[in-house]
Amino acid sequence: MKASVLFLLVVLTMTVALGSAGAETRLRMATTTSTEDSGLLKVLLPPFEKANKCKVDVLSTGTGKALKHGENGDVDVVFVHARKAEDKFVADGFGIDRKDVMHNDYVIVGPKADPAGVKSAKTAVEVFKKLAEGKAEFISRGDKSGTHMQEQAIWKAAGIEPKGKWYVEAGQGMGNVLQMAFDKKAYTIADRGTFLTFMNKIDLVVLFEGDKSLFNPYGIIAVNPKKHPKVNYELAKKLIDYVTGPEGQKVIADFKQNGKQVFFPDAIK
């Protein structure tokens, strides 16, 4: 027994000693899966980290949860896409200095055969009406992410309350949902960035795109230091200035996935 106690103590001291190295400034950013999974942040953040000698910790979740983390003061800055929810976040006093960063768009994807015949639709609302009429299987994110909120807005505009066996609420991230739609030969709505990343892995095609209601703008917001004095507002502000400044905007414009531009910078008109 003595030997094992000694062994545990040695391990304990070793792990603690090795673990406490490096106390650089850390900035916490909550963002959506689309910015992280597309690989954009991997090229966007390093120049900022280098210039400010800090480390940006990225928490990638859905927009709803990212904003919740901001409300709780557990992150310093949020980078999300759900304009209405963002405006509420700012109006409620949780966020300040909101800025437009970039946009891309949503696409409605499904099996090539298109059993519900949505290809011929003129608007996204019409697409959703056809899906509901044909009871074509549709996978919803169901997780209060930006994409989910957008989807709900379209259902609302179509005057439909989606219910029934054909409407599957996955409660998962975009990647999982695309995978599920592929496995079940179902339809779904996806942000173009994630779809471009996944295109090679799944056999789904874009069936509808280009409608105004599929516009997908991204915003960046600092968490209000008046609500949460412990947040690193100064560095958050610097990050906002960088992302919306010429250097960050150029990185966004130059970022490509499978040879296609994914995000379109908006900050500099």
Binding site: D57, G73, D74, V75, G175, T197, I202, K230
Partner: protein, 231 residues
């Protein structure tokens, strides 16, 4: 079948290729799991021994409670701890959320009941005459406890092994309290969840194989320790 094969090949490549990110992930997993296991052992074994050796009112209720807590779902611990260590929570000032410390805290809370309960069971399984003999020979309470723990050593170490297995394979707490931050709080299990959600099944599988190798290594170390104990 393809996935499995690809996974094995990818695992081999990750291990041999000395991929720095992968090593950092593995190291963090081992670090938080070992720390949580050590803390839980320190917090769980002594009270477990005490409870096992004493009779008191409410002991039955306590055991029932511990048995229930053994089945505690990790997400429940996760959400409860989130409420405590969020900046809005009571311990928000400690800055534990979305840091390795938060994961260690959550994992420790998860396995303290487990360690305690299995310790109690281990002590109960020893020959009751041992305690009487120790007392008859004039041993203090502490000396008696120590003797009993020595006697039950094998089973107590088994409790620690089980606890370690539970934390290193745990994903809910690591995800909720750590946040799966690249290069900071990403553990093997959260990395697997992430890679799978990105459709990188082979990479997820590879990490899974690495996880198994790591637990095999740790368990082998404890096994050797146990064997030495016998003499």
């Amino acid at each position: 079948m393809d996935f499995l094969l690809e996974g094995i090949v990818a695992a081999f490549r990750l291990i041999v290729g000395l991929d720095q990110e992968v090593y950092a992930i593995v190291f963090l997993s081992v670090r938080v799991s070992v720390l949580a296991t050590v803390y839980a052992s320190l917090l769980g074994i002594p009270p477990g021994v005490w409870v096992a050796l004493h009779q008191f009112r409410g002991k039955g209720a306590l055991l029932l409670c511990l048995n229930t807590l053994m089945a505690l779902p990790t997400v429940v611990v996760g959400v409860f701890m989130y409420g405590l260590i969020s900046r809005r929570g009571v311990f928000g000032e400690l800055d534990l959320l979305f840091a390795p410390g938060g994961i260690v805290l959550g994992l420790t809370a998860l396995i303290v009941p487990l360690v305690m309960n299995l310790t109690i069971a281990a002590i109960h399984a020893t020959d009751p005459r041992l305690v009487t003999t120790c007392r008859a020979l004039g041993a203090t309470g502490f000396q008696t406890s120590w003797k009993v723990v020595q006697e039950a050593g094998f089973a107590v170490i088994a409790a620690v092994v089980v606890a370690f297995g539970r934390v290193i394979s745990e994903v809910g707490i690591a995800m909720m309290l750590g946040g799966n931050i690249r290069g900071y709080t990403r553990t093997i299990t959260t990395a697997i969840a992430l890679e799978t959600s990105k459709g990188e099944f082979a990479l997820g599988m590879a990490l899974g194989i690495i996880l198994l190798l790591v637990s095999a290594g740790v368990n082998a170390a404890l096994f050797l320790l146990q064997r030495r104990q016998r003499w």
